[in-house]
């Protein structure tokens, strides 16, 4: 299967590993991720004002440039903005009209693209049972916690990614790779990255709560899908510390393509 792929700015630089290992793993799994020939910033944050059309335009451009039926995302933040903008496109006629008037596309976007996170692709298209069969280096004995953060889960009616209060997709992913998933209560809370620059102390409070919760539950390492969480969990850790990896790195490791 061929999928359009939106890596996003951070995956070209600070979160290069998230992208690199995703591509290697996808190839090993027989998934073709075709990067959009043209893309810009996803918009960085989903706008708080419903009349803010401009900051959603670049997301619309990405959707418009999608050639395949599904647009795969890797970064939680990009996924959040693209998915919500796509949802708005279908629900909000005013937004649709205004954005179309501004962009003046040759062919208007028909709203048919489905924005899919790579984890959803693994769950729904490959299947975790199938994934398990492709594992060559099972991660036996490792106690791994998933840090979901907020962007993948909420608002759940739009993201419809997983149960927002008791998500299991990443735990099932970890299990498929042969490791032991450790579930902990703060895995679906915010890491605080959005205020990290403005108020480092706030960010540290969130990170400490998350890490404390993870350590108490017995996690020995964490995975995340979000460059913001990655930065924050590593840089703003104070009392507790845990090694944090992108989920794609774990996947590449298990599939035996990490060094390739």
């Amino acid at each position: 299967m061929i999928y359009s792929y939106y890596p996003g700015c951070t995956l070209k630089d600070r979160a290069r590993q998230l992208d690199l290992y995703a591509r290697a793993s996808a190839a090993a799994l027989g998934l073709e991720l075709k990067e959009l020939t043209q893309w810009q910033c996803c918009g960085a944050v989903y706008p708080a004002a419903s009349d803010d059309i401009a900051s959603r335009l670049s997301a619309v451009r990405a959707l418009m440039n999608t050639e395949e039926k599904k647009l795969v995302t890797m970064c939680s933040a990009c996924h959040h903005v693209l998915k919500r903008t796509n949802f708005d496109w279908k629900q909000d006629a005013t937004f649709r009209t205004r954005a179309t008037n501004y962009l003046q596309p040759e062919v208007p976007y028909d709203g048919s693209v489905e924005v899919v996170h790579f984890l959803e692709l693994l769950r729904d298209e490959i299947g975790f049972d199938e994934l398990k069969k492709k594992v060559v280096n099972p991660l036996t004995g490792r106690k791994i916690g998933a840090f979901y953060g907020c962007l993948l889960l909420r608002p759940s009616k739009v993201l419809s990614f997983d149960d927002p209060e008791n998500p299991t997709i990443m735990e099932n992913f970890i299990r498929a790779l042969g490791a032991e998933p450790v579930s902990y209560p703060y895995r679906n809370e915010c890491c605080g990255a959005y205020v990290a620059m403005e108020d480092q102390k706030s960010a540290q409070t969130q990170v400490e709560r998350a890490l404390n919760s993870a350590v108490a539950a017995g996690c020995e390492e964490l995975i995340t899908a979000c460059p913001l969480c990655m930065y924050n969990l590593v840089e703003n850790a104070t009392v507790h510390r845990l090694p944090v990896k992108y989920f794609t790195e774990l996947l590449a490791e298990a599939l035996g393509v990490k060094e390739a």
């Binding site: 996003g8 700015c9 951070t10 630089d13 600070r14 979160a15 910033c41 918009g43 960085a44 944050v45 706008p47 708080a48 004002a49 419903s50 009349d51 803010d52 900051s55 970064c75 933040a77 990009c78 907020c150 889960l153 909420r154 608002p155 759940s156 927002p164 809370e189 915010c190 605080g192 990255a193 959005y194 205020v195 990290a196 620059m197 403005e198 108020d199 102390k201 706030s202 409070t205 969130q206 709560r209 460059p227 913001l228 990655m230 930065y231 840089e235």
Partner: protein
């Protein structure tokens, strides 16, 4: 309510899509807010104060920048009020005023260390300035 307050209130309700009258003042939002202690005003107060015309007090508070935008209050609100949307919209409203920038581009660049992901930098650019 004076004219300016009424204008601001109507605008923030329109762009946020929040209906404060739906609030039953249960405090779920403030019970779930992860950054409660850092914020001068708390999620339930945002809802109540907007309804009571105290909108400028909120706009002048740093609390609007300390909301993590994590939507825990939006997700868990039993009345579908979504206080977090109101906080975000107030921050937007503040930006739209003359000289409403919270931080300039150079300030933001100065705040970033070399490890800050691009996404976060971009987000700050969007959130703190026009």
């Amino acid at each position: 309510m004076d004219q300016n307050t009424r204008f601001l209130t109507e605008t923030v309700l329109r762009i946020s899509g929040v209906d404060p009258r739906k609030c039953m003042k249960c405090g779920k939002c403030s019970g779930t807010c992860p950054n409660y202690d850092a914020m001068e005003y708390h999620p339930h107060q945002f809802v109540s104060m907007v309804e009571n015309g105290l909108i400028e007090q909120l706009m002048n508070s740093n609390a609007v920048y300390l909301c993590l935008g994590c939507m825990a209050c939006v997700e868990r609100c039993p009345r579908h009020v979504a206080p977090g949307k109101l906080v975000g919209a107030l921050a937007q409203l503040k930006l739209r005023k003359q000289d409403g920038n919270h931080k300039g581009g150079n300030d933001i660049a100065a705040m970033a260390d070399e490890k800050v992901p691009q996404q976060l930098l971009m987000a700050a650019m969007r959130k703190y300035r026009k």
